[in-house]
């Protein structure tokens, strides 16, 4: 009875959502609002927003990957908010999992294959994560997946060696330095041009590594920050073992 009621309710909610969203033009040129007003340059254009990004994005930001241009440049302030949400999540997990008298748990050691292999692959995985977030403006990827890859490298060491522990002080220091870099880059833009996260460095040639102004700088900061936060989450969920 309860299950049938739940299914009927789910179907009703689905129908309501379908009716509500079927009218919204998705990615098309909207006929009722044809003018996109740019508040910075005080211009109006009669393109839709995706068309505007695809047409002017490369000249505005210098990034080849348009998703990166939108995430870091056009919507950079939102990204600062997302990183802050992740920081709050990490703090919450740390405070929930904190125990005063830590009981050391006796666990079985892993075998030689896993230990040697994880020691060998740790450097490769860190290198690959750095590649992902440094090349964020050229290839798919960016700060968030790069940070997740770096955290996975530390997770591998936690799994292979029962006695491994990342120092919490160093993690918080690297995380704070990365967050400060993000905010300081934004504030320099505020001082130079009058709005937050202004792209003040020269753009360079597109498709080269040193291009797109401050975007690679911000993505490196986001990568280090996300990596240390996720490593702190893994560390506090792992507990103390022996």
């Amino acid at each position: 009875m309860k299950k049938a009621l739940a299914i009927v309710l789910a179907i009703l909610i689905f129908i309501v959502f379908a009716l509500a969203f079927v009218k919204i033009p998705f990615g098309e040129k909207m006929s009722t609002y044809p003018h996109y007003y740019n508040p910075i340059t005080n211009q109006t254009s009669n393109m839709s927003l995706p068309q505007h990004y695809l047409t002017y994005g490369k000249n505005d930001t210098g990034a080849t990957n348009m998703v990166t241009a939108i995430v870091v440049d056009y919507r950079g302030f939102d990204t600062l908010g997302e990183v802050t949400v992740l920081f709050l999540a990490s703090t919450g997990v740390g405070s929930l999992m904190y125990v005063e008298n830590k009981v050391k748990k006796k666990v079985r050691r892993s075998n030689a294959v896993v230990e040697t292999g994880s020691k060998l692959l740790f450097g490769f995985i860190i290198l690959f994560g750095a590649y992902i977030f440094i090349h964020g403006h050229l290839t798919p990827g960016g700060g968030f997946p790069g940070g997740a890859v770096i955290a996975s490298a530390f997770l591998l060491l936690y799994l292979a060696y029962p006695k491994f522990h990342a120092k919490h002080e160093k993690l918080s220091v690297s995380e704070s330095i990365a967050g400060l870099t993000f905010v300081i880059v934004g504030l320099i833009g505020l001082i130079i041009a009058g709005y937050f996260l202004y792209n003040f460095l020269p753009f360079g040639l597109p498709t080269y590594l040193f291009s797109a102004g401050v975007i690679p700088l911000i993505y490196v900061a986001i990568g280090v920050k996300v990596g240390s936060e996720l490593t702190a989450i893994v560390d506090s969920m792992m507990g103390v073992r022996e």
């Binding site: 490769f124 798919p140 799994l159 292979a160």
Partner: protein
């Protein structure tokens, strides 16, 4: 040129049939290690599928997704294995 595209899509279909055959083991498998083996096989099949779909689209930069799976997929398998042998 059209011949090349046809061959690629045939390979993609065959490999996705292989992926759906591993799901049979995931549904049937009596114990958890059977399902873990199915996942281990499916990660390898997924890497190949990603590479061939990227080749079908003729996008070189799409290979990065397959690289992420190639280097990270075994970490999840090792987490499972360490839990099963009581090492966590």
């Amino acid at each position: 040129m059209s011949c090349i595209v046809d061959l690629c899509i045939v390979f993609i279909t065959l490999i996705s049939v292989a992926a759906s055959l591993t799901i049979v083991r995931l549904v049937k498998g009596p114990t958890a290690p059977d399902r873990a083996v199915a996942m281990d096989i499916l990660t390898n099949i997924t890497i190949v599928l990603l590479v061939i779909i990227g080749f079908y689209f003729k996008r070189f930069i799409y290979l990065d997704v397959a690289l992420v799976y190639g280097i990270l997929a075994f970490v999840g398998v090792i987490a499972l294995a360490r839990y099963l042998e009581g090492g966590l």
